[in-house]
């Protein structure tokens, strides 16, 4: 036993050592870089070798040779690689078969052993792939797998020897315990060792929180508990049922035997009684014979002589009793001197001394001087005394044989090793196998004798535990005896088989359910989770598509429809926001002055401004307006940030600046610092705005500028190139309340252009995140510097467009260019308000109108209107005194615009009532006709009084269709 344990432990240690060595080799040496195919072959072969070693390094236990070969393939498959397990299993299994078949090493179990070794490899591989994801299982799992594998091994031994089940059972009942235990131990030890080497236990044992426990773990635990309980219960149930059944069938068998014996004995009853009387006669006859023989011997007969005589006759005892009733001589010398009257058993014989009675027979009785011996005595008168002959049972066996009694039990078998004993009324075996015959039951060790016939009871017979049935016929006892180990053999085989099968079955169920849970729940959940995390990551186009069962299909469907509803709402919200932003954009853009070039023909300067808005509402703006008749204010600005806040801030800034300038504040620096203070107040959003502001005197070309943190302006002198003008920057507006702004003056002469822009132009970005940059902007400007400023600007915008390409426009691009043209058309005529100047005024207007392509008819009408207005001023504006008048004429938007400015008495001629042109001649007045004609000939005429001037403006559409008046 101790030797066996030592050898098994050595095998376990060898496999553990191999596992550890291979693990180190695979993790700490260049071996790990080898191809997987080669590695698993090497590992498989080495473990196969370990399996072969286990086969031949077997431990003797009882009559069996124990070996734990299955550990090697299991370890190879579970710890290293599924294929290595299979290889090791095949090597170990085949070698075992060959050794068994051809070299007589464990021939009897060769098939079971080799099969289970191969299966060990395969099962390890399957479990590793399907249950453990090719990861090393925890050591307790390895232990369970090892144990179950050995159970399979044991079951295989039983199943391959169904015809020879008893021997197979002997083997199994001996081997099962140690082999299962050591295989489990070996697998666990090897797994734990490798896990320890890999540092898995360094983290320590932490109880995982419920929230962190994977669903499969919980499932495993509960499944294990339930399966174990179910296994135990079914086993107990079958065990009890089987015990009950075995007992019942044995009892039936025994009862049948009793019946048979009884029937046989009944048949022999006549024989028996015949034999009995024969026996008595024979006993008496023998007594007479002895009496005769003793008479021949003479007076003094010695004990030796009587002993010889007894042996001769096959008699137990011969006593000679004298006339006083005392034994005078006996074959048993101890009996000499015994007084027959002293015992109740012997005293009846004294009747032979009365001289009348000649013979007396006493049936078998236990004798007093010797234990466990019953004797039958026959006495006959002999002289003055008598002769007493004692028989024991064996002495009369011949007679019983004659009555077939002894054969009744001796020839009978109950089951394989059960038998029948027949006793006489004293409990002496009169029939049965040799070893029990003529021995009393108490002598054989049967202590607890039954009283009732039909009783079953356990007893020990000759040291063997037996199950017995007692019955009685006449005085004879019938004992049907069944050794308990035979009684329960079939139950035990059955129990082992059932236990093994159930363990296997439940293991398989356990593994299958786990696998099912993993594939149909856990992996699906993981899939759903992956999709959900992609969705929460913002990918609303992700579709959850787990359709392996109804629940997950409906879950997928629900998630998908939730996401699509969400998507719908988001897109609706986005559309709404987009729409609102669009409105905001439109409002913002409409706040900017018309973007078409203006003033081209007017007053001797060019202006071009353009804002190319980004999709999102931004904060750029430009503005231009007349602060008074001579001063044109130019603004370009960029509000920090984007969206609605920026656009609101932009509106505020724009309005503020315009209001300040229009209310007479002419100094750009003052405008900026006042606006700055205003914007700083209540600037909770911490926004700011960069502003460049210039005030151009349209007559002199002088422009006074101030820069609040805005980009440097570009200036091009006549014949020169666009260059940055590094002006003095103040701080951005709304940045600090105390910011100071400086102003500077530039003189713009004919041919000069001043260009300002926002950073949206220089920082326009292409798809490679490269910025347009100031150098390229200047390069482009200079490439087209000799073009009309408007064209230069448009080409710059085109170039920026080309540069940006498909990249999204992030920021507004705003540009503004003001210039003095080289050739200035005189648009203003200043002269005295005198009739004689009429022709000069008319020529001035006609020239411009003709140049603009006015037809003769229109020209005529315009000329008439000009006369009427001018003459009106001459005659009435200054109350007959001489005065000045200015006439401006230019074409804008296809309209000829004529403006008369005088500083005379404020008077609006248009409010004068038109003359009635339907009344009779006599009532008609000469006045009012001129204004009437002016109104009729021009498309619109309006009056304003500003800065002490009467300003009358008349407009005529040059492309008007003919006869539009009539």
């Amino acid at each position: 036993m101790g030797y066996m344990l030592l050898k098994m432990s050595v095998t376990v240690l060898v496999i553990c050592g191999l596992a550890a060595a291979l693990w180190l080799l695979d993790n700490k040496t260049p071996f790990q870089k080898m191809e997987t195919r080669v590695k698993r072959l090497i590992i498989g072969v080495l473990f196969g070798g370990a399996a072969v070693f286990s086969t031949h390094f077997c431990a003797q236990y009882g009559t069996m040779a124990l070996n734990i070969r299955d550990i090697a393939p299991l370890c190879a498959g579970l710890i290293f690689n599924p294929w290595a397990g299979i290889i090791a299993g095949v090597i170990g299994g085949l070698e075992r078969f060959i050794a068994g078949q051809f070299f007589d090493v464990g021939y009897y179990t060769r098939i079971a052993c080799s099969l289970s070794s191969i299966m060990a490899g395969i099962i390890a591989a399957l479990l590793s792939i399907h249950l453990f994801d090719k990861k090393r299982p925890p050591f307790f799992y390895a232990a369970v797998i090892g144990a179950v594998m050995e159970v399979f091994h044991m079951l295989m031994i039983l199943l391959t020897h169904m015809n020879d089940i008893s021997q197979a059972f002997d083997i199994v009942s001996t081997c099962a315990g140690p082999m299962i235990l050591f295989t489990a131990l070996g697998c666990a030890a090897a797994t734990a060792l490798v896990s320890a080497l890999s540092g898995q236990y360094k983290k320590g044992w932490h109880r995982t929180e419920k929230a962190d426990t994977p669903i499969s773990k919980t499932f495993q635990l509960w499944l294990l508990v339930f399966v174990s309980v179910a296994l135990l219960l079914t086993f107990l149930f079958t065990y009890v049922a089987q015990t009950r059944m075995t007992l019942t069938s044995s009892q039936e068998l025994m009862q049948l035997n009793v019946e048979d014996v009884k029937r046989e004995l009944e048949n022999n009853e006549e024989n028996m009684s015949g034999v009995k009387s024969l026996l008595k006669q024979q006993a008496l006859a023998l007594a007479y014979s002895v009496s005769n023989d003793v008479s021949i011997m003479g007076k003094n007969v010695s004990s030796e002589q009587l002993q010889e005589l007894a042996d001769l006759y096959g008699i137990y005892e011969i006593n000679l009793i004298n006339q006083k009733g005392v034994i005078s001589s006996s074959s048993n010398p101890e009996r000499v001197g015994f007084n027959m009257s002293s015992s109740s058993m012997s005293s009846p014989f004294l009747v032979l001394l009365d001289g009348i009675t000649t013979e007396y027979l006493q049936d078998f009785r236990p004798i007093s001087y010797e234990n466990n011996v019953s004797l039958m005595y026959a006495g006959v008168a002999h002289g003055s005394g008598f002769v007493q002959v004692g028989y024991d049972k064996s002495n009369i066996a011949q007679f019983e044989t004659l009555a077939d009694v002894t054969t009744v039990a001796a020839d009978r078998h109950v089951g394989k090793s059960g038998f029948v004993l027949l006793t006489d009324e004293d409990g002496t075996v009169i029939s049965g196998s040799e070893e029990y015959l003529w021995r009393s039951l108490s002598e054989l060790g049967m202590t607890d004798s039954p009283k009732q016939s039909g009783d079953f009871f356990y007893s020990t017979l000759n040291g063997t535990k037996c199950y017995c049935l007692f019955d009685k016929i006449n005085d004879s006892g019938i004992y049907i005896v069944m050794p308990t180990n035979e009684l329960y053999e079939s139950r035990n085989i059955f129990a082992y088989e059932i236990a093994f099968m159930e363990i296997l079955l439940f293991s398989v169920i356990f593994a299958l359910i786990l696998q099912l849970v993993r594939t149909s729940i856990v992996s699906n959940l993981q899939k759903v989770n992956r999709s959900l995390s992609r969705i929460t990551g913002g990918d609303l186009d992700e579709v959850v598509d787990v359709r392996t069962n109804a629940e997950f299909t409906s879950l997928s469907h629900e998630i998908n429809s939730t996401v699509s509803t969400l998507k719908h709402y988001i897109s609706e919200a986005e559309m709404k926001i987009d729409k609102e932003l669009e409105f905001a954009r439109a409002i913002q853009l409409s706040a900017l002055p018309d973007r078409v070039p203006i003033f081209a023909d007017r007053l001797g300067f060019n202006l071009y401004a353009r804002m190319k808005a980004a999709r999102e509402v931004g904060g750029d703006f430009y503005d231009y307006f007349f602060a008074d008749a001579d001063h044109l204010v130019l603004v370009i600005a960029d509000v920090s940030g984007k969206g609605i806040p920026a656009s609101l801030f932009m509106m505020k800034s724009k309005t503020l600046i315009k209001t300040l300038a229009e209310n007479g504040m002419m100094s750009p620096a003052r405008i900026l610092s006042t606006a700055n203070k205003e914007l700083c107040a209540g600037n909770d959003a911490e926004m700011f705005v960069t502003v460049w502001l210039g005030v151009l005197n349209i007559h002199t070309g002088e422009i006074v500028c101030s820069n609040g943190g805005h980009e440097y302006p570009c200036i091009k002198r006549k014949g020169g190139s666009y260059e940055l003008y590094r002006d003095k920057h103040g701080l951005v507006l709304a940045g600090m309340e105390t910011s100071k702004y400086q102003e500077y003056t530039l003189q713009l002469n004919p041919g000069d252009n001043l260009f300002v822009y926002t950073d949206g132009a220089t920082e326009a970005t292409d798809i490679h995140n490269k910025m347009y940059g100031t150098p390229r902007m200047l390069e482009t400007l200079n490439k087209y510097k000799d073009d009309d400023p408007q064209e230069t600007m448009e080409k710059l915008l085109n170039d920026i467009d080309r540069f940006v390409g498909k990249a999204a426009q992030f920021d507004d691009i705003t540009i503004l260019c003001v210039g003095i043209p080289l050739t200035v058309r005189q648009n203003r005529l200043e002269l005295q308000a005198l009739d004689i100047e009429l022709e000069r005024v008319q020529d001035f207007v006609s020239e411009i109108a003709e140049a603009a392509g006015a037809d003769p008819r229109t020209l005529m009408r315009v000329t008439i209107a000009v006369e009427e207005i001018f003459i009106n001023i001459c005659h009435y504006a200054y109350g007959g005194q001489p005065g000045d008048c200015a006439v401006e004429c230019y074409v804008e938007d296809g309209k000829l615009i004529i403006r008369f400015i005088d500083s005379g008495i404020p008077y609006n001629p248009l409010v004068h009532e038109d003359p009635d042109i339907t009344i009779p001649l006599e009532q008609r007045k000469a006045g009012g006709l001129g204004i009437l004609m002016t109104k009729k000939f021009m498309d619109s005429v309006f009056y304003e009084y500003r800065d002490g001037n009467n300003i009358l403006t008349a407009e005529k559409l040059l492309s008007a269709p003919e006869n539009s008046i009539s």
Binding site: I864, A926, G930, F937
Partner: protein
């Protein structure tokens, strides 16, 4: 502006050509003073008239008022421009304009 007068038994014909505007109107007014004093049948031939403003209209209006009391006044050879002016000012109703 050129003004020609032609007296016949039937009456007096005044030929006006060129521009009749504020600056030339006083000249026409001067020329008409004696004509209006003696003739009973006045004819304005506007064949050569290029331009007429309200100053000219006023002269025609006052001439018409004088002639209404004494005889007749006819306008002939008015060109398109003149006709348009007459039309606009309601003069077509009070002047006798000969269709040309």
């Amino acid at each position: 502006m050129i003004v020609k007068k032609e007296k016949t038994a039937a009456g007096t014909t005044v030929f006006i050509s060129g521009r009749l505007d504020t600056t030339t109107a006083p000249q026409l007014e001067e020329e008409l003073k004696d004509v209006l004093a003696e003739t009973n049948a006045l004819t304005f031939d506007l064949d050569g008239l290029e331009y007429i403003s309200s100053a000219g209209l006023r002269i025609l209006l006052s001439a018409q008022k004088v002639m209404n009391k004494r005889g007749t006044m006819v306008i002939r050879h008015a060109n398109e421009t003149a006709l348009e002016v007459f039309e606009l000012t309601g003069f077509t109703d009070i002047l006798t304009i000969e269709e040309s």
